[in-house]
Symmetry: C2
Subunit: 428 residues, 2 copies
């Protein structure tokens, strides 16, 4: 039997999965390696963190998505390094895996801009565990406030600070504010959850910096209507378990969430190359590592320049397009066909929701805001979910949440490490 | 304002919640204390452990269930002890709470019959965390087997031992066997998941000991058809991370689950009374602590004798009936009405499923088995779920699982502590 060209893809996110899918019916065998067993629909992760959706509605076992592809093998393994000379991946358990072509699509984590100690006080939102940890902290803060007898402590427990006013930050504060204003008031007896303070802190001059000014202004106004305090032009200078400091102002806040920056995964270290400021691997116009034509890096872990010279943004559609592009290059090489031209990013538009009724959408010439934008956002996200089961389940969760005003997945799970327990004993 | 009689209920399970609900419109104020924020529908917990249902479909925030009861306050707090003289609860954080009447409904945990060290190797199934931990171990074992190159190790990874053949044990092995036989085969490339060995180990002479012989025989046969190895009359004598020992036989099994016994919560210690062999608090015919008429103990943490002299079983309907009964006693005392007679348990029948097509049901004179029993089981469980949202969601999950043969909630989450990693490095 002829030995087929072995493509190893690391990372089952949008980029890696798109690459594997686009290699269908090519003369290659594929191994998809991920340290998790599931593909995650990150654009809706904030809805898990805020208890609207259960975890399983936005995650799929990777090997299930590829079960009809007998030439694709899925491995749950953690990569430790790459040996480019031997063309081998090294795993943390000592295993090795030979590749003919390697595609690294390992994504990004949060960046605390050199203040990594802030992570334990202000977790970011990239994984299902991040989402359930944020959900636990947020819900536990309301619980602890209900038991606290110290007004100052209660105030700190009912202050929620989200750092970073990109789409994730805006989406998080919108739902947290609605939770405090509309969902929870009837359930607490001692506290009035409507007194909760929800802050959105942004170092730059305005919210949603990637959107046009008009939509940014609309978002600011819509957030104000939800009761969110927007603080722009104020970088965070300190962050601990008790609160955050912005400029000279100290804000006691027991719950802080980090949505301010990303840094790439360890792909640059694995390859032994210098990453850019965000740790991303600089790649050529064909998304290959310069000097290593058989190693591609795509998605949030790559620094990609578009054909027009602008940097390609770290968004899901860009990762998907890169995955498909690289699949085309690999297929052309294996088949001896002409190689495609340089990677060309097609921007499909930007969307962000504000609470459960409004959104902003920027499709270049067409700009939408309010309820219409929300519907466009909702339909687009249902469309991009995988499979009938999760589409129906998410629509049902949304329908329920919108008609009853209740968030159903309000579970505090996984131990006590994240519970914001009152410092002073509560006395009844 | 008149000071109302203060009823403190500890535990928001079936018993505690039934008590609070039955006290509606009585002249009392109520505090419901639980160390978790959610009420859990334990009869379907095995379906979370085996990846059929997501966690949020069988759990509800307790305070949400009681939001229309302004006289009920819900507290998330951990009880450390009771001071019966002062009529106070003590919390672990130093807080105290005065009661006029106390109802302890704190349930049970697993019992390892003196071998508590077995717990880390063979976790039990009582909480959502237990369920996701078992799910993680089970799915991780298949993942590790796919990577292992050692046939002996692979065999141990693909051996799943469930200890205890009551309804939970029978239900767990049924779904695990179906997972290995029908759901997973098309998703793995190196291993054949149909070679997985699923064992049900029981110290007693037969499976489902609480059911009549005929249904027990049917269950044994139905399990055999699913490929489950049933071993009765064989107590486990050793249990560690590598396997279990039954009698003289050592069975290498990386995944073991404990469904063999329960021990009561710490209520007896809190009260400073002697518990029975299972740690349960012996109570009188009115479910009150002898000599302490204002302290009731109900559900799995109480040793209750029925009016006919038989012990009341530790099942959900018994806990509910006890909660309702105690509510009646409290209401009568507060209102100065005549007290009800002794607690009388009405057995409503027993149900257990075997895989996704068969079940056994024992309603006294009426005994059912097979597909009809499965439908009775399914309809009964949907009926006992709370609220439209979760009923629809569970029906959708079941419909999907049955028609496509896929389990949707197959997520490995929450860290690596439970992953069955191959011992020898895998070599590709």
């Amino acid at each position: 039997m002829e030995k087929k060209h072995h493509v190893v893809v690391v990372g089952g996110g949008f980029g890696g999965l798109a690459c594997v899918r686009a290699l269908k019916q090519e003369r290659v065998e594929i191994t998809l390696v991920d340290q998790r067993n599931h593909h995650l629909f990150q654009p809706l992760l904030y809805q898990v963190a805020t208890s609207i959706l259960p975890t399983s509605e936005i995650a799929w076992p990777i090997r299930h998505l590829l079960k009809d592809r007998p030439e694709v093998r899925t491995l749950l393994a953690e990569v430790e390094g790459v040996d480019p000379e031997a063309r081998e991946l090294r795993f943390t358990d000592g295993g090795r895996l030979h590749y003919d072509t390697l595609v690294l699509a390992t994504g990004a984590r949060h960046s605390y801009f050199g203040n990594d100690s802030w992570e334990s006080s202000a977790p970011g939102l990239k994984t299902l565990e991040d989402a359930t940890a944020i959900r636990r902290r947020m819900l536990s803060a309301f619980e602890a406030a209900e038991r606290s007898s110290d007004p100052e402590e209660r105030r700190a427990l009912l202050t929620f600070a989200v750092v970073g006013a990109g789409p994730t930050g805006v989406e998080l504060v919108g739902i947290i504010a609605e939770l405090a204003q509309r969902v929870l008031p009837s359930e607490f007896r001692t506290i009035d959850t409507r007194e909760a303070r929800v802050l959105l802190v942004e170092a730059g001059p305005r919210v949603l910096p990637a959107f046009p000014d008009g939509l940014s202004d609309y978002a600011t106004q819509a957030l104000a209507e939800l009761g969110v305090e927007v603080r722009t032009g104020t970088p965070v200078t300190e962050c601990d378990g008790d609160g955050i400091t912005i400029g000279a102002e100290r804000i006691p806040a027991r719950t802080a969430i980090w949505a301010a920056g990303v840094k790439a995964s360890h792909a640059a270290e694995w390859l032994g190359v210098a990453g850019d400021r965000a740790g991303r691997v600089p790649v050529g116009a064909d998304l290959a590592l310069p000097g290593r034509a058989e190693v591609f890096v795509i998605g949030d872990t790559a620094a990609v320049t578009n054909v027009d010279g602008t940097p390609v943004p770290g968004v899901a559609p860009a990762a998907k397009q890169q995955g498909e592009y690289v699949a085309g290059v690999i297929a052309a090489r294996v088949a001896g066909r002409a190689l495609p031209g340089p990677f060309r990013y097609r921007h499909q538009g930007s969307l962000a929701t504000i609470g459960r009724r409004a959104a902003v959408a920027d499709f270049g010439r067409i700009k939408l805001r309010g309820a219409l934008a929300w519907w466009v956002w909702g339909i687009a996200h249902i469309y991009f979910l995988i499979g009938t089961r999760n589409r129906v389940a998410v629509v049902w969760s949304w329908f329920w949440s919108h008609t009853t005003g209740n968030n159903s997945a309000r579970l505090i799970t996984q131990g006590k490490q994240g519970i914001a327990v009152p410092r002073a004993p509560s006395v009844d």
